[in-house]
C-alpha cells in the first residue's frame, strides 16, 4: 500500500492531468507490483534454479559445479529409482480408480437421500479435514499385531489369521494407501455432488417419460454430463497420489518407505536424497523427473477425457 501512497505523492500535478484510462493502468501496475515480485522471486526464479541444480553436483558442503546430465544418468541406472518409480505409479493406479469409484457410488446415492442428508455427508467429509501426519499414526496403530492393533483384533475374533500389513513387502503399500484414499473421499464426494446437482432435472424427467431404465439414465445422461467433474477429479487425485509423502513418512518412521523400500514414493526419495544424504544436485534431478511425470500424466488424462 505504501507503493500507492508514494506514487501518488511523486506524481502530484501530473496525476490530475492524466486520463481515466492512464490512471487505471497506473493503479493496475501498483496493485500488481508486490505480487509480481513475489511470483518472480518465489516461483519463477526457483523453477529455473531447480532445472539448473539438476545438472550440478551441489551438496551441502560443496558449491555447485556443472556436471551435465550426470545426475540423470545415475538416476536411470539406480535400481532404487526404478523401484520408487513403480511404487509411485502403484499409488496412482490403485488410488485414483478405487477412490473415484467409491466416491461416485456414495455421491450418486447420497444425492437421492433426503433423510439426514447433511449428517451423512458430514460423516464422509470429516476425514478430509484431518492432518495426514496425525492420521498416519492412527492407522499405524490399527495395523499393529494382536493385542494392540484393532484390525488384527477383529480378524482374530472372526477366526481369520493375523495379517502382517506394514511388515510385509506386498501388503505395506496398500496399507499405506488406505488412509490416503480414506482422507480424500470426502472432497471427491462433495465435488461429485456439486456436479450431479448441476445436471438439469428436466433431462431426467424427459428420460423417464421415454421409459429409460435407471441404468440407462446413468450411462446416457449422468455420466456424460459429469465429464468435466470427472476430468477435474481424475487429474486432481492423480496428482495427489503421485505426490504422496506425509502418510508414508509417518506410518513407518523407523524405516520410512520400508520395508525394503516397498512403499517408498518419489517424493520420499527426494526428501532422503536431499536431507539425509545431502546430495542436493541429485535430488534436484529427481524433482525434475517428478515434474515431468506430473506433466505427462495430466496431459494424457486431459487428452483421453476430452476425446471420449
Amino acid at each position: 500500500m505504501s507503493v500507492i501512497a508514494q506514487r501518488e505523492a511523486a506524481s502530484g500535478g501530473l496525476w490530475s492531468r492524466m486520463s481515466l484510462g492512464q490512471k487505471q493502468v497506473i493503479w493496475a501496475w501498483g496493485f500488481l507490483a508486490v505480487p509480481l515480485i513475489f511470483y518472480v522471486v518465489i516461483r519463477f526464479w526457483p523453477t529455473f534454479q531447480a532445472f539448473y541444480l539438476s545438472v550440478t553436483d551441489w551438496t551441502i558442503t560443496k558449491p555447485a559445479s556443472f556436471v551435465g546430465l550426470e545426475n540423470y544418468k545415475r538416476l536411470s541406472a539406480d535400481p532404487l529409482f526404478w523401484q520408487v518409480f513403480r511404487n509411485t505409479f502403484m499409488y496412482l493406479i490403485l488410488g485414483t480408480p478405487i477412490s473415484l469409484l467409491i466416491s461416485f457410488v456414495v455421491a450418486y446415492y447420497l444425492d437421492r437421500v433426503r433423510f439426514m442428508h447433511s449428517f451423512i455427508r458430514a460423516l464422509y467429509f470429516l476425514p478430509f479435514l484431518t492432518t495426514a501426519a496425525a492420521m498416519a499414526w492412527v492407522w499405524r496403530w490399527f495395523y499393529q499385531p494382536v493385542p494392540i492393533g484393532v484390525i488384527n483384533d477383529i480378524l482374530s475374533s472372526l477366526g481369520i489369521p493375523q495379517q502382517p500389513f506394514l511388515r510385509s513387502t506386498s501388503q505395506a503399500l496398500p496399507a499405506v494407501l488406505a488412509p490416503a484414499i480414506w482422507a480424500g473421499l470426502g472432497f471427491q464426494i462433495i465435488i461429485f455432488l456439486a456436479g450431479l446437482r448441476a445436471i438439469p432435472v428436466t433431462y431426467y424427467e424427459a428420460a423417464r417419460i421415454d421409459g429409460l431404465s435407471e441404468w440407462a439414465i446413468l450411462r446416457k445422461i449422468t455420466l456424460p454430463l459429469l465429464k468435466p467433474t470427472l476430468v477435474f477429479l481424475v487429474v486432481f487425485s492423480s496428482i495427489g497420489f503421485l505426490r504422496i509423502f506425509d502418510q508414508v513418512y509417518n506410518i513407518n518412521t523407523n524405516d520410512p518407505g520400508g520395508p525394503l523400500n516397498s512403499t517408498k514414493p518419489l517424493v520420499l526419495m527426494i526428501y532422503q536424497t536431499a536431507f539425509s544424504s545431502y546430495e542436493m544436485g541429485y535430488a534436484a534431478a529427481q524433482t525434475v523427473v517428478l515434474f515431468l511425470i506430473l506433466l505427462v500424466i495430466s496431459l494424457i488424462q486431459l487428452r483421453i477425457m476430452r476425446d471420449r
Binding site: 433426503r114 484431518t130 499414526w137 526428501y271
Partner: protein
Amino acid sequence: MNVAASSQGLPMSRVKPGRIIAWTLLFIGGVIMVTPLLFMLSTSLKDASQVYDLRVIPAAPTLDNYSEILGDGRFTRWFINSMIVAVIVTLSNVFFDSLVGYTLAKFRFRGRYIIFIAILSTLMIPTEMLVLPWYLMASQFGWLDSYWGIMFPGMMTAFGTFLMKQFFEGVPDDFLEAARIDGLNEFTIWWKIAMPLVTPALSALAIFTFLGNWTAFFWPLIVTTSADLYTLPVGLSSFAVEQSIQWEKIMTGASIATLPTLIIFLFLQRYIVRGVMLAGLKG
C-alpha cells in the same frame, strides 16, 4: 445451494425398499468413515492399562493424557506456531490473491493476459521441485528455523488468484463505475465495493488456505530444525517417534492436531461444504 432441496429423486411419499437399503448402506459407510476418528478420540481418553480394551466408550474416561501432554508445554507451543503460520498465510492469500484476481479481471491494460498466463503456469510446477531452491534461499537469507521461513512460499497462490479472478469477473462493471463517479479511489473501490460482493469465494479461499497450512507437513519438516519452531504436524511426528509404543499418548497428540479443524467444521459446515464446491467447480 440448499442441500435438502437438492436431491433429484422422487418425493419422499413414495419410499421404496431400495431407498431404505441404500440409506442404510450409506449410513453404515459413513460410520466406518469416522471410525478411525472415534478410536483416536476414545483412546486419548484411556490410561495405559485400558489401551488394549477396544471398547469405543472408555470404561473409565480420563483427561490425564491431555493434561500431561499440554502440561509439558511443547504441544501448546506447536499449536501456537501452527495457528500463527496458518492465520498469517491465510490473511495474506485473502488480501493478495483477491487483489491480483481483481486487477486481472477488472482493469484493461497491456500485458494483462501475459501476466495471467504466467501466474497460471506456476500451477504446473509441483511444490517439491521448488523446495530445494527455497531451502537454498532460506539458508542464504537466514530464514531457516523462523516463522517467515515456514510461511514465505505460500504467501500467494496461483490457485487463489485464479479463483478470485473468476468471481470478480461476475461483479458488474456498473457498480465500480458508479463508485468511480463518486470519486472513490481504486483501492477503496476494490476493498469497500468489490470485496463484499465475493464473500463466498473469499471464505472458500480462506478455508482452503487455512486447512492446507494447518495440515502442511513437507515444507515445515524441511525448514524447521529446532523443536520450538515445529508446527503441530511436525511436532506430533517427532513426539510420536519418541513415545514409541505409548499409543494413548500418540492418540492424544493426534487428537490435539485434528480436533481444531473438526470443531470449526461442526460450526461452519454449510460454508465449508459450499466453499469446497465453489473451489472445485470454478478452480
